[in-house]
Symmetry: C2
Subunit: 499 residues, 2 copies
């Protein structure tokens, strides 16, 4: 029944402790039985020491390893006792070859910002931390390319690029910690996707080490390379179960120099849709973000932050951002868009910010929603892709089903990408509430052919929901690929396909 | 030695005839030995007739099938005797299931605009033509999505989208014939890639039929769907060797309403690079195409078209296109870019066109280069991705090597995507010339870690060059995937991996 409790921090903390101290390795954790992997022995440690030259590349002291055994949100907790920190692809390759020969399982650890427990060991998997693989190799302003090792932190990359008037094509709330390799492994989305597209489009090449230690060079510095199957995409979004991404080449846009943020109040969901459509037509190529916030989401956040919203009492709010290279042009486009939607009564009220401090404040009202709702005793969030016409229906329906039993039922998210975060929070997560939510939310999503994990991935926490978004035939093919590429199942076991 | 002769139309025509009439099926064609596939029997035809309800869905008369046995450029010619034209995914599935059970090989035929012989049978493979699978299912202006069957012609899709103020994210010279399924299967590039990215980014979902007849539903109408491995990318660019793409969902941008084209003359390649860099900074989000044309390419084309170029006598020309939604803004950006590059002497001369007729004329000077160079008795073209700094070196080097033995050595292409088309043409393709070119061009590309087939693919004509751009490990994994997904090797045999 762990799955039911996952999104509840207080519950899951208790669960960690119990699991950590009381349950032997061979017994089940989260309803999962340990697979017959080998246990790490002294001879393995000696071998790792011979592969990794520096002392700080191996952590064995429980005080040092504990941080690698728990995720940021405290959803899960692992029992790993060995942390390895390679610096080079060669070291990764040696480690994997040895682990594969010995049937030692591996959990791959990036910036630890995932929300599905994908990078934390389930039992005592060896933890492969990528943090020391943080070299930037190339920044080429002519072709707009960044080449780096996979452990580079997203924000560091952005800083380096800015010095050459370029930016990363993705931006996430967790950019201060998340690593580019983890971004690829989880196919991270973020708030620039409306403008620059997803990683399958922007990643030009990558290098990965397969389960048996083979290094596969799929690096390319080019937008176009039609020589055989496009293998790099197998690793993007496979959450470390098919290989360890060690290097990345990514297409980086030229820096933009102007920014406008609109925070709009709307009286109906139809008006939200109309506003989105008009923003695409009238803001066109400068539209970078398009976010939806409902009344409850905003109120909870305003209270939590003890701040004020520039407009209030609307059922819906939208945050639109434009970025560009010519201030007058952008300002004119924004003004003409605003004139159009206000004159026609599509947008009822709003503010327009160009100054960094005001922009930051408006973004905070959107970005702090998760923190605000998580401050409740229990909080369940669902990361769904849904058709725009039925996008908000899930919130309305859930409010009807569990509104009277909970404190908060709200929806917010990236409406520009059809991605909503449905959130239900309150004081006590009763069995009655759970039964009213699960599997209803997933069945609702399946009926509309949506995605039950739009951007968060599957990890440890969602494998049982995979079949709500993927057909049996697709899952079968995924399993065939996994078994072909990692026949001993040593890479991130128990995650995604659970094989 | 067919590979040497491939790009020469006159030679290869002779070769077709000889092969077509004189060589029995079991013997080699193009140096390839026929695999032990079954031969189509009357009972197979009866079965196909039971699957396909209409008479016009099966062609057996040699007069009807001949057009499906030769490619547009007359590089290759097949010996197929049966053409099947399914209308539905179910029909495709039934056909493949039967063919797989019977070990009947299949060649998949789209719009027949490929340049590597990928869609023409080598021996007597059954030809599966997708032309009747041409239904548009959904055009949704809110989410910007098109859903259609894979046999839809690109230009038809663009026309339908325009009526809803949307466009296709890709545009090709062959749009009047090429089909969207073929575009996906070959990962087509085209002239809008600078702006809208490649198909791995814009394709949201697809449906494919596997070799054994299993239909795999990877449809999604969403930018974000992180539920398991991202399988759709296996089919994008696999040239019909892993499955038959039957349906497609693609993200379509909102229509742009303004267009500017610049045709610029430059005195050095350094100036070309500088111009590209400044265009990204100063035209920013409205830059849609960035093409390079060298002196020889332009002169040959001007002579061939019996037209005039607005500027002449430059070693390099660039064609830049911008598209946007606000004429004044775009005009100002274009003017300020021009002022900058002309004042600094980066660009020496140029014309700026906003009217459709003038724009068409300028684009013709770029788009007709292939036709112009192909009018020679022999013409070899190489479709390379190369680093921008060394982008034009290959032309200079080849001019030194074979310039005195040929009429034309020129380079043109999509410099915005680092993709050059090196072209060598003349009256007689001697062994001496061939030896000076091949494998030199491929080795040059490998040294710079470029791509030996940037956008054209591998097909029948380039498998032996695959290893110049892909590592042994990558090719091994490709072969494992092919063998897993099509163990009998019935899908487009002899192509790409030649298994």
């Amino acid at each position: 029944m762990f799955n039911k409790l996952i999104p509840c921090m207080r519950y899951s903390k208790l669960l960690f402790e119990r699991h950590l101290h009381q349950i032997p390795l061979s017994k089940d954790r989260y309803g999962i039985i340990r697979k017959p992997f080998a246990k790490t022995m002294d001879s393995d440690i000696q071998l790792f020491k011979s592969i990794l030259p520096d002392k700080n590349q191996i952590l064995l002291d429980p005080q040092d390893t504990v941080g690698y055994n728990r995720d940021y949100f405290r959803y899960v907790r692992g029992l790993g006792t060995v942390v390895l920190k390679p610096r080079t692809t060669k070291e990764v390759s040696h480690i994997l070859r040895h682990c594969n020969n010995r049937r030692l399982a591996i959990s791959i650890f990036g910036g630890n910002t995932g929300v599905c427990g994908g990078s934390i060991p389930v039992f005592d998997e060896i933890i492969l931390s990528m943090e020391l693989m943080n070299k930037i190799e190339v920044i080429d302003e002519y072709s707009g390319i960044l080449v780096c090792q996979s452990g580079c932190v997203l924000e560091k990359l952005e800083e380096k690029l800015l010095s050459k008037r370029m930016i990363m094509p993705l931006d996430l709330g967790s950019k201060g910690s998340c690593q580019i390799g983890g971004n690829l492994a989880t196919n991270a989305g973020g708030i620039r996707l409306v403008r620059y597209g997803n990683l399958h489009g922007t990643v030009l090449g990558l290098e990965a080490v397969l389960a048996n230690g083979t290094t596969i060079d799929l690096m390319s510095n080019f937008q176009k390379d039609n020589t055989g199957y496009h293998l790099k995409h197998m690793f993007i979004g496979s959450e470390g179960t098919l290989g360890v991404i060690t290097r990345v080449a990514i297409a980086c846009p030229t820096e933009t120099t102007t920014q406008n943020v609109l925070f709009l109040g709307l009286r109906s969901y139809e008006a939200v849709l109309q506003t989105f459509l008009e923003s695409k037509k009238r803001l066109g190529e400068i539209l970078t973000s398009c976010e939806l916030i409902d009344r409850v989401s905003l109120e909870v956040t305003v209270n939590h932050l003890k701040t004020a919203s520039p407009i209030k009492d609307f059922p819906f709010y939208m945050l639109l951002e434009t970025t560009g290279i010519q201030k007058e042009h952008d300002d004119e486009k924004v003004q003409s868009f605003l004139d159009y939607v206000i004159e026609r009564g599509i947008v009822s009220d709003g503010v327009h910010a160009c100054e960094p401090s005001k922009i930051d404040h408006l973004w905070k009202l959107r970005e702090m929603i998760p923190a605000a709702v998580y401050s409740n005793r229990f909080c369940l969030t669902y990361d769904l892709s849904l058709p725009l016409k039925e996008f908000y229906d899930i919130v309305t329906v859930m409010r009807r089903r569990v509104g009277h039993l909970t404190k908060i039922v709200c929806g917010f998210g990236h409406i520009g990408d059809s991605n909503i975060h449905l959130t239900i929070a309150g004081d006590e997560l009763t069995g009655e509430i759970q039964l009213l939510i699960d599997p209803f939310v997933y069945e609702f999503t399946r009926k509309l052919k949506g995605s039950v994990s739009a951007e968060h991935g599957i990890g440890l926490l969602k494998p049982k929901y995979l079949n709500y978004s993927k057909s049996t035939e697709a899952i079968t093919l995924m399993k065939q690929i996994k078994m072909m590429m990692d026949p001993n199942g040593i890479l991130n076991p128990y995650k995604v396909l659970q094989i």
